[in-house]
Amino acid sequence: MSEIVIQAEGLTRYFGQKKAVDSLNLSVRRGTVYGFLGRNGSGKTTTIRMLLGMLHSTRGRGALLGCDSEDLTPEVRARVGYLSEGHPLFTGMRIGEHADFLRNYYPKWDRSWFDSALARFRLDPKRRIGTLSRGERAQVALALCLAPQPELLILDDPAMGLDPVVRRDFLESIVEMIQQEGRTIFFSSHILGDVERVADRIGIIEEGVLRADCGLDTFKANVRRVRCRFRDGQRPELALPGLLRVRWLENEATLTLASYNEGRLDELRGLGAEEVEPLDAGLEDLFIDYTAPLSGSE
C-alpha cells in the first residue's frame, strides 16, 4: 500500500481564457483527513474533477492511489468513494434498488453495514428517492458512498444545505470511518467549524492557486489575531510583513498576522502599542482574514 494516495503535479486548467486552476501541487498521505478550503469559484470542484479523471487537465498530472487520473482503472475506482455536489441520486428508484444497482459494481460492498446505517437514519429501503427530504437524501448519498468500504473518500461540499443535526451525523460517520486503518478523506466544505473538528491538514485555494497546504494546528499557530491598544489618538501606520488584515476601533487595532511568533508582539510594542494580546480565533475567522483582500484601515 503506497503512502501517497492523492498526488497532483502542476495541475492546470483553462476554461477559454480564464485560468481556473494554476499549477496546483498537492500530496496527501494515507490516513489523513484533508480539508480543502476555498471560496466559491476558487477552483475546488475543478481540481476534484481533474483528480477523478472527469476533466482533462490542460497541463500537469494527477494521481489517485498511485494510478494516473486520466487512466483510472475500474479496480482503482472501486476503492475510491466520491460524493459530488448536491448529493445526486437516481430519483426514479427506491433506496433499496439504488443500493442493488451500485452493489453490482463494488466487490467490497458491505450490505450489513448499509442496512444498519439505514436503520440508524430511520429510512425504509422501500421509499422512493424522489420523496426524500434534503437531509434524508444526503444521508442516503453518504451511506451509499461509504458502503463499498472505500480506501479514499472524496467529498465535494457534503454539508451543503443541511441542518446542524444532519451535519453532526455526517461528522460522526466520518469520524467512525477514520477509525479504520488506512482510510483517507479528502473533502471540501464551507462549514469551517466542522472542518476544524475533523481535519488534520488543510489546503486553501484562492483563484486557482493553492495558497496554504499545512497541518491545521500549524495554520492556527501561524495565522493569529492580535489585539493592540495604542495611546489615545494614535493610529500609526502598521506596515508589517505578513499582515493580512487590520481593523481599527478608536485606538484599538485587531490585526491578523500570517506568520506569528512571540517576536511579532515585540515588533508591535516597538511600533508604540501599549497593550498587545494574542486572541483566540476560530478557523472561520482566520480563513476570512486569510482570503479577503488586504484592505486599509476600516
Binding site: 453532526r168 461528522l171 469520524v175 477509525q179 467549524g193 475533523v198 481535519a199 488534520d200 493569529r224 483566540d280
Partner: protein
C-alpha cells in the same frame, strides 16, 4: 469526568485534552488507576478527529500522565515525581511569576496573595508536606 473541547480556540485540541486531564488529576476528579475513555469512544463523543485524540494520548503517555494496557484501556498514572527538585522548581517558576505579576497589577499584598493560594489549595491534591 466529562471532557469538553473548543475546536475554535487557538490552543490545539490535543493540548486542551492534555490540560484537562492534568487539571482533573490535580483537582482529584480523576484518581490514579481510573480508566479514561478509549481514543475511539472519545473521538465519537466529542466528534473530533481520532488522530488528534490519539496524539493527545501519546503526549500524556510520554509525559507519564497515563499508561495503556493493551486490550484493557488507558488509565491514569500515579502523580510521579521523576525530575529533581531543582528541575521541578524551575518548571513551577513560570506560573508563579505569572500569578505574582497579575497580583501586583491588581494591587494585592503578599499576605492576601498567600491567603488566596491557601484557600484554593484545599481543592487540589497537593502532596502532604513532611514538616509543617
Amino acid at each position: 469526568m466529562r471532557f469538553a473541547v473548543n475546536p475554535s480556540s487557538a490552543e490545539p485540541v490535543y493540548a486542551q485534552i492534555v490540560r484537562q486531564v492534568r487539571e482533573g488529576v490535580a483537582r482529584g476528579a480523576l484518581h490514579a488507576g481510573e480508566r479514561i475513555p478509549s481514543v475511539r469512544d472519545l473521538a465519537l463523543q466529542l466528534v473530533i478527529n481520532p488522530n488528534t485524540i490519539a496524539a493527545a494520548y501519546r503526549e500524556m503517555e510520554r509525559a507519564g500522565l497515563v499508561y495503556t494496557q493493551r486490550g484493557r484501556g488507558t488509565f491514569i498514572a500515579e502523580i510521579g515525581t521523576s525530575s529533581s527538585l531543582a528541575e521541578r522548581r524551575r518548571l513551577l517558576q513560570k506560573p508563579v511569576d505569572a500569578l505574582l505579576t497579575e497580583a501586583t497589577h491588581l494591587g494585592f499584598s503578599e499576605e492576601e496573595c498567600l491567603e488566596l493560594v491557601r484557600a484554593a489549595a484545599k481543592h487540589y491534591r497537593l502532596r502532604e508536606s513532611e514538616h509543617e
